[in-house]
């Protein structure tokens, strides 16, 4: 599977490295002095509430926003400045892909899953025969792979978005609240699928989520973000079981679990 999908394991080093990252929108400091790494084949969860800056980080990584300061490198190559020319854009696309929360607005309504995947394969000059394997890998049936997005359920559409992202054979996949809108039973299927894909391909994940349980399930390391600043970062087990900061503890305790009572 690894060879087929082609998400090759990076030779050592970090998949993503951010140093002194800053983003201001006029007077508003969305992201302040952020340092983080996603190791090759690793999985980092960025957790925060609304306004924490987590989506701004994703947008800077894919090049939708330009950092006000600091650097971002993906697979060792700097991308703090806009790509120059189609060739570099293509190369960046093969390094990093993103899956958004709502697959309905990120898919072309007139395009079937297979056509969406083939378009990306063609663009990156990869064999079109891979489309079948990608569609199989994300668990879409033959009939579903020929359907338009509107005829698919939310979970199926998210599988299409994942297959399309994998078609570029990226080294890093950003999952921006990618399982948040899914029904609980479907969310479990997609989380299992994402864990399988990482185990099979050695792809690295940067998961942006408000959901600590989802982060724990899918990530090795976690970064807790508040108002654009790092509150705490480290191994998931350590940060979630033994938080050093009050804010992390408050986030942790706000998650309803068996025995949780209101108030508190």
């Amino acid at each position: 599977m690894n060879a087929v999908v082609g998400c090759g394991v990076l030779e050592g080093g970090n998949a993503v490295e951010a140093r002194g990252l800053n983003k201001h929108f006029k007077a508003h400091h969305a992201v302040v002095d952020l340092d983080f790494d996603v190791p090759a084949g690793g999985s980092l969860g960025i957790v925060g509430e609304s306004g924490s800056g987590k989506t701004t980080i994703a947008r800077m990584l894919v090049g939708l926003e330009r950092p006000s300061g600091g650097t971002i490198a993906v697979t060792g190559r700097d991308r703090s400045r806009p790509a120059r020319g189609a060739k570099e854009r293509g190369r960046r696309a093969r390094e990093l892909q993103i899956v958004f929360q709502d697959p309905y607005t990120s898919l072309d309504p007139s395009q079937s899953a297979r056509a969406a995947v083939e378009e990306v394969l063609r663009h990156h000059r990869r064999p079109l025969a891979l489309a079948q394997e990608l569609v199989d890998q994300v668990g879409l049936t033959e009939r579903q792979s020929r359907a338009r997005p509107r005829d698919l359920s939310g979970g199926q559409r998210q599988r299409v978005a994942i297959a399309r992202a994998l078609a570029a054979a990226p080294k890093v996949l950003i999952l921006d609240e990618a399982v948040s809108a899914l029904d609980v039973s479907i969310q479990a299927q997609v989380l299992n699928l994402l864990a399988d894909i990482r185990a099979e391909t050695g792809i690295a994940y940067l998961l942006i989520s408000h959901d600590l349980a989802v982060v724990r399930q899918l990530c090795d390391t976690v970064l807790v973000l508040r108002r654009g600043r790092v509150v705490e970062q480290g191994e998931c087990d350590r940060v979630l079981d033994d938080p050093a900061e009050d804010y992390t503890r408050a986030l942790r305790e706000a998650v309803p679990v068996p025995g949780w009572t209101v108030g508190g």
Binding site: S185, A188, L212, G263
Partner: protein, 331 residues
């Protein structure tokens, strides 16, 4: 036992389709809610949890029709005339929705939104109404209520606007609150504050509450009893404090296994295969059978009844056998 506040019996909702047919969205829902009780309705897309609430308030889509019975304090809701219905919606039930921004007029100040019902239909003077509104805003934990009354919805956060929504419901002093995913759009720390407010208000004022959510653990924390819905039917109903240990319906068990835990990483989540269906998509038998690992040929042919089991009610033909088998593996 006290007379129920709300009683649904055999509530069924069908929606007419363009080709002259009908699609069932809700099928034979039976529920009772005592005054002051909090009941959770939990389910995924198409389960009928929101449709139940819309039927209770008679806010169904135009093409939909409800049959069966809805009784509020003994009165037949489906038979109410326009005047009775207005009084019922005004003083009987209060609604809290998921997205307050979609339900509060963005062009009017928060104060104007809050006093509208009091001034128009209760004949309360404007000054008195504003004073009451400020008092209720303080009760739901909003600082500086006088200033908030003069602000527009876009000037405050989503969490604060949801408190404004709750305040508007409290001003009407209803006997029943229907809360449909009231915290789904909010951050977890705000969610905790908002459910705590709902819970405190309900206890202090003795109101009944139906709390609709996709989050089983949240419902268990907020409610005394929880009904799990699937494909337009209740599949399991039991007290919140025993649901984790005694869940017996394969769907409830599946929901509990699907959710990742914040306490520990699961080797693999026990996902339920397939996707949730609506009532009209399900066959003649148990709607969950196609996704159920315990299903036999018999499950797909006849609909199982909702029957007493282990202190709750469960809609599963094989519940005894499944329970016995699970106890054996546990032992």
């Amino acid at each position: 036992m006290t007379a129920p506040l709300l009683e649904l019996s055999g509530l069924t909702v069908d929606v007419a389709t363009d080709d002259g047919g009908a699609r069932t969205l809700l099928e034979g829902v039976d529920l009772t809610l005592a005054p002051g009780e909090a009941l959770g309705l939990v389910g995924e897309s198409g389960s009928g949890k929101s449709m139940t609430m819309r039927a209770v308030t008679r806010l169904l889509p135009r093409a939909a029709s409800a049959t069966g019975a809805i009784r509020f304090e003994g009165a037949d809701v489906l038979g109410m005339n326009a005047g009775e219905l207005r009084r019922y919606r005004d003083r009987g039930v209060g609604l809290v929705f998921q997205d307050p921004r979609a339900h509060i007029n963005p062009t009017r100040r928060i104060g104007a939104f809050l006093v509208e019902a009091l001034v128009r239909s209760r004949g309360v003077g404007r000054r008195e109404a504003l004073a009451r509104a400020a008092a209720v805003l303080a009760e739901v934990g909003i600082d500086d209520p006088q200033r908030r009354l003069g602000q527009y919805p876009h000037e405050v956060s989503g969490g604060m606007l949801q408190r404004v929504m709750i305040a508007s419901v409290l001003l009407a002093e209803p006997r029943l609150i229907l809360a449909d995913e009231p915290t789904t759009a909010l951050d977890v720390t705000i969610q905790r504050e908002v459910v705590a407010i709902l819970d405190r208000m309900r206890r202090e004022r003795g109101m009944g509450m139906v709390f609709i959510t996709h989050d089983l653990d949240l419902a268990l924390a907020v409610c005394g009893r929880v009904a799990v819905m699937y494909a337009g039917r209740i599949v399991e109903l039991r007290s919140a404090d025993t649901l984790h240990e005694r869940a017996a319906h394969p769907y409830t068990l599946g929901l509990l296994g699907s959710r990742p835990s914040v306490d520990a990483r699961a080797e693999r989540l026990t996902a339920i295969p397939g996707r949730p269906v609506s009532a009209f998509e399900s066959g003649p038998g148990c709607a969950f059978a196609p996704r159920c690992s315990f299903a036999t040929a018999g499950c797909e042919s006849a609909p199982p009844p909702l029957a007493d089991f282990d202190g709750g009610v469960v809609r599963c033909a094989r519940v005894q056998e499944i329970h016995a088998a699970r106890m054996e593996t546990k032992a």
